[in-house]
């Protein structure tokens, strides 16, 4: 390209350029392939239809949380309340459907909106009260955990008498084919999230705020309002994850949830989203979540003890972020 044609966009970006600009995602995707191939050779039981659907199925909850929290992390924030928030939403789903006998659709919607409320409060605390996201959501993590126990009386709520609830997760859209609905839900959620992040004003502001919040504010954008919207949006995913996990288990378990937030954040980071903000994609996050569940599943199949699985996962996170650092230095 000559300097005089400076105003033109690159007409067609070569494959090499695309790979370079999306290095982390390609790396993550490549790693996923390598891991899958490895386990396929290591065990004949890995690459079977039932195992693959099993892996996808086990990705749903972490995947949903990770997709939602990708938005927050791109704003250079963090959300630690998604794990216990999810447990609280599951409990609320039980309250709405089991205790209050709300119609299925309405109860599910209410549970998802309750997640939005958690996000709204997080957003308010971060944007208006100026509490650092780590602290604001750490507090919310504790609040949600406590409330889940208080509301449920520390006992699981069973959905046995709610017809259709379990189908949300374990039912099959296509009769006869054992492909759980939960996977479809995750796929839809990921596509919607990707469209919102890439094609909407909300998505652009998410990146802008993460790149430089003050400059964005001085450009006349009400960053406080948008931050609240972004946290609320992420909260809706918490609510959905609460529905998905309770539909899968057939019960709302109030004491669970802790630890999911870190797994979701790990998935986001493996997928190439920067904790410093301004950078990240939904595709990357989904791949990150898949890598985590493939690793878990594969290591189980090849009989690696549970304790070692976490050690390996930790190593993967370090390797993923280190690879990204190298790319930045060269870029």
């Amino acid at each position: 390209m000559t300097p005089t044609s400076a105003v033109q966009d690159r007409p067609t970006r070569g494959l090499a350029a695309t790979i370079k600009s999306r290095f982390q995602q390609f790396l993550a995707f490549g790693s996923l392939i390598v891991i899958v191939v490895f386990f396929a050779f290591a065990s004949p039981n890995f690459l079977t239809f039932s195992n693959i659907t099993g892996v996808l199925f086990s990705t749903v909850v972490i995947g949903t949380l990770a997709v939602g929290t990708t938005f927050v992390i791109i704003t250079a924030g963090i959300d630690l309340s998604i794990g216990t928030g999810m447990a609280l939403c599951a409990v609320m789903s039980g309250v709405f459907l089991v205790n209050w006998h709300m119609p299925l659709l309405l109860g599910v919607l209410a549970a998802i909106l309750f997640g939005g409320l958690i996000g709204l409060i997080n957003g308010f605390n971060v944007a208006i009260l100026k509490i650092p996201p780590f602290i604001a959501t750490l507090a919310m993590m504790l609040v949600a955990q406590g409330l889940a126990l208080v509301v449920s009386g520390s006992a699981p709520i069973y959905f046995t008498d709610v017809p259709g609830y379990l189908e949300i997760s374990t039912g099959n859209l296509i009769p006869g084919v054992n492909f759980p609905n939960a996977v479809v839900v995750l796929a839809v959620v990921a596509v919607v999230a990707a469209v919102v992040l890439n094609k909407t004003v909300l998505g652009r502001y998410t990146y802008s705020i993460g790149s430089n919040e003050e400059a964005t504010a001085l450009s006349g954008i009400n960053t406080k309002k948008w931050l609240i919207i972004i946290y609320t949006l992420a909260g809706l995913f918490i609510g959905l994850a609460g529905v998905m996990i309770s539909a899968r288990l057939g019960s709302a378990q109030p004491a669970t949830g802790m630890g999911y937030e870190l797994q979701a954040i790990a998935a986001v980071v493996i997928g190439g989203t920067s904790l410093f903000g301004g950078k990240g994609t939904i595709v990357g996050t989904v791949i990150g979540a898949l890598i985590m569940s493939v690793l878990n599943n594969g290591l189980q199949i090849v009989s690696v003890p549970q304790e070692w699985q976490n050690v390996i996962l930790g190593g993967v996170i370090l390797a993923a972020v280190y690879a990204d650092n190298i790319r930045r230095k060269e870029g």
């Binding site: 105003v7 033109q8 966009d9 802008s208 790149s211 430089n212 964005t216 954008i221 309002k225």
Partner: protein, 527 residues
């Protein structure tokens, strides 16, 4: 020359993806001289500095120091060779003391690995005395003025027994008195075996401090001239490759313009006291004053970036309330910060994202979805009309040179089509050629009916551009001068007016009275 050159650079090239930053560059620093290095933004000055300090490795080229060839591999090693660089952005720890900063990593230790603060302060005191700097080793660096922080940087550099001192835009944030102090310091540093490379955009300074001037352009060496025998116009024309008109004044000055914005009694808790002024349609209102006078604070208060404690703002005769910058944007008031990296740009986003940021929702979206085609087309238009040098609108903003980054910020507000634009130091850190373009742009905007507030620390710039000049001192507005009344002297007078002097006194003593009488009055009052 019988003596070998202090520093010699030959045939240095350095490429980045898509950009050739340096191409066959050479540079010769004689012992005992101050060599000015000038060039437009993007000419390669910063790259050259980074190459010399070991931050970048070169593709090809040779270096020698006192005739000895050398290679720079790291900033630390450059320092050990005797090459010290004072960057525009300081590398200081604001919460540590002056002494701790100077000797960071080299603190004197006692047995057992404990630090000796007393010894550290004594060492720092000795160094500061030797350099005759007005510093106290125990002061916290963050509490010092920019000028003094720079002295700390210099002290730190010289504590390594530097032979070659390279200064990148050392005076960008200094006032005239501070510049004079800095120049004294440089002259004291220059010995038969030391040398300084002095990078600056301020042409006037080069005359007073440098022996020779090396001009570079587009990553290439252009020429080296004896400063004494060269006019600054020649230097500038070498830099930009064309001649520049000078001695220009403001354009389109009229006194029958309608008032657009009226600010009444604006005050903020930390600084501003009762600031009142009017901005008229199609006018360029200059804001002059010394560092810390409160000019930026006025701008930030108007756009709602800082909280105001009192005051009213009236737009077209209607009082308006502005609580944050998004309110200001709704009233079509835009603010371009002096610190474009911190407050102006999304450095990690592309040029397009930066240009359309402020108008995204209003102009380039439908039902919340972004209309990328239209947005990119508009960005490309502005890249063309403002002549922003970038390979494409998909280029990441941080890869652009300072002047082009500034133009991107300007483009952002042009897309928004604001009625009132507040430019805070629009030409800071920009080379002369790009400055002219910005001036042309401001005049153009005003002639199209935009009202412009231009805050600037460069008096010639304020005088050249402003239809009227508001002068501030210590949080107060001390005068609003018309283009006819405004001279360097009158502006400086009002800019140095102490708050305890009433404005009425000032007018009495001010322009009419001899300059000295004001000074003596002030001294008398201080006692």
């Amino acid at each position: 020359m019988d003596r070998p050159l202090l520093l010699k650079i030959e045939g240095v090239s350095k490429s980045f993806p898509g950009v050739k930053a340096l191409s066959d560059m050479h540079l010769e620093l004689r012992p005992g001289e101050v060599l000015a290095l000038v060039g437009e933004n993007g000419a390669g000055k910063s790259t050259l500095m980074k190459v010399l300090s070991g931050i970048y490795s070169v593709d090809e080229g040779a270096f020698s120091l006192n005739g000895e060839p050398f290679e720079v591999t790291s900033p630390r090693q450059a320092q050990e060779l005797g090459i010290s660089i004072i960057h525009q952005e300081f590398n200081l720890m604001p919460d540590l003391t002056v002494a701790q900063n100077i000797f960071i990593g080299r603190e004197p230790r006692r047995a057992g690995g404990f630090l000796s603060d007393r010894e550290l302060n004594v060492k720092a005191r000795t160094l500061i005395d030797r350099l005759q700097l007005p510093l106290d080793p125990k002061q916290i660096v963050g509490s010092l003025t920019v000028a003094k922080q720079q002295m700390v940087e210099i002290a730190k550099a010289l504590s390594y027994e530097a032979k070659v001192l390279i200064m990148d835009e050392p005076t960008a944030a200094l006032n005239d008195a501070e510049v004079a102090t800095l120049h004294d310091l440089i002259r004291r540093f220059i010995k038969p075996d030391t040398g300084v490379i002095y990078i600056s955009h301020r042409m006037g300074e080069l005359k007073s401090i440098s022996d020779r001037v090396t001009v570079i352009r587009d990553g290439q060496y252009v020429d080296t001239l004896d400063t004494a025998a060269t006019s600054m116009k020649e230097v500038i024309s070498l830099m930009v490759g064309r001649r520049l008109a000078s001695d220009l004044g403001p354009e389109g000055v009229r006194d029958d313009r309608e008032v657009l914005l009226a600010v009444e009694g604006l005050s903020t808790k930390p600084l501003l006291k009762d600031v009142s002024f009017e901005l008229k349609v199609g006018e360029i209102l200059g804001f002059a004053g010394l560092m810390g006078a409160g000019r930026t604070e006025v701008a930030r208060a108007i756009v709602g970036a800082d909280k105001i404690s009192a005051g009213t703002i009236t737009l077209r005769g209607v009082p308006i309330v502005i609580n944050d910058p998004s309110d200001a944007a709704r009233h079509r008031i835009g603010y371009l910060s002096e610190d474009r990296k911190r407050f102006g740009l999304l450095l990690n986003q592309d040029v397009n994202a930066n240009i359309i940021l402020s108008s995204l929702r209003e102009l380039f979206s439908r039902f919340g979805f972004v209309r990328d085609k239209q947005a990119r087309a508009r960005s490309r238009e502005l890249v063309g009309s403002l002549r922003i040098k970038t390979p494409s609108v998909a280029q990441i903003a941080k890869n652009l040179s300072g002047g082009n980054q500034q133009k991107v910020v300007v483009a952002k507000w042009l897309v928004k089509d604001c009625d009132i634009l507040i430019f805070d130091e629009p030409t800071r850190g920009i080379d002369v050629g790009a400055k002219e373009e910005i001036y042309g742009l401001l005049n153009d905007l005003a002639s199209h009916g935009k009202s412009i507030i231009m805050i600037s620390s460069e008096l010639p710039e304020v005088l050249r551009m402003s239809h009227r000049i508001a002068v501030m001192s210590e949080g107060r507005l001390t005068a609003v001068l018309t283009a006819d009344e405004a001279t360097q002297e009158s502006v400086m007078h009002y800019a140095t007016l102490r708050p305890e002097q009433s404005i009425a006194d000032a007018i009495e003593l001010g322009i009419a009275g001899p300059h000295e009488s004001v000074q003596t009055t002030r001294k008398a009052r201080e006692k």
